[in-house]
Symmetry: C2
Subunit: 185 residues, 2 copies
Amino acid sequence: MKFHKLLRLEGVSVEKDKGEHVFMQSDSDKSLYFVQSGLLKAYYTTEDGKEYIKSFLLPNDIIGSLSSSYLEECSSFSLLCLEPTTLVKMPFRRLYEYTKGDLELANNMIDLILHLAIKKEKREYEFLCLSAEERFCMLVKTSPSLLEKVTQNDLARYLGITPVGLSRIKKRTHTRPINAKQTAL
Amino acid sequence: MKFHKLLRLEGVSVEKDKGEHVFMQSDSDKSLYFVQSGLLKAYYTTEDGKEYIKSFLLPNDIIGSLSSSYLEECSSFSLLCLEPTTLVKMPFRRLYEYTKGDLELANNMIDLILHLAIKKEKREYEFLCLSAEERFCMLVKTSPSLLEKVTQNDLARYLGITPVGLSRIKKRTHTRPINAKQTAL
DNA sequence: CATAGATTTTAACCACGGTTAATGATTCCT
DNA sequence: AGGAATCATTAACCGTGGTTAAAATCTATG
């Protein structure tokens, strides 16, 4: 990545332990966070108490609270550290002032958001076109290291299924050869 | 929306009839398109010939071909006019040159991409947290006008289900009172 | 009007994954 | 080490939606 100038802006460094939350809801906390080390999960909690994981955050990942009244109505959003974590916090208000007056920074910002938009695009694709099993296999291929760090429960909630469902899928994919679909002849 | 300056940039006007495609694949076509009038569907076609609809585009909507090697590998992406349509085409290369040199334009661009990112975020939420039936009900509430213009087939492929599945859901939701879940007492 | 084509609905059957609950396996704690 | 708590797996049962194919509608177009 190359958001050079963005990263050189001095933000507040935040240290959190495993199990601690990073609050992003209140106006004063609306910020962009750069993950320096550690591991977090970003998740929704719905009214009926269910949890759905939006993403896991690894070092060099970036997250911000996009304000969307729609989403805020139907769910609440949280960040939880799964390991001791260091973040750099940059309030949107301040960032916004910077980009208003700095061309290079504004272009860095464009690259950054574009990068995030492409991630979302991928995820939309995976939900739209792939089955839960295919999404799991995808993840095994692309982020094998994540599987070791994250509980079955969290992994399932990220894939959009239940832990029970994931357990079943794992069994299936180890027994059955992958891509058994093509077993014509 | 308020991408004032972006919209004042002069792009190439493109006229298409119902049934015509807008090509976005080749490098020379990598552009941002502003829909002025009409209706389009943006969809993926997978290797096994299935179609999945990413979004419908109405007047004032904006679409661009985010280049992602990942997505380009596993599917091909197309735009098809469902009604006679007028678009304004702005090549990314040119746009990029502009934003590199114009602060106001760069900030307009930030607002624009942020706006698109929030849309994606909503859609991710809907796939992650809602059932097909709930997604359908959501759409009925938020975009009733779309339902009249779009075939059952396209609608289903946008919701991530088959036309047969959608037909069943429609039957159910008309028979059964919506939110029958809460019928305690 | 008639026929062909596309679109939608229905039915029958099946696979996937949700739900609940019981059982194992780990980790953690004093 | 014993016990609590968390996490993972398994089994039984069920609901949603996929698949296929047939019937019912709707829409052209000559």
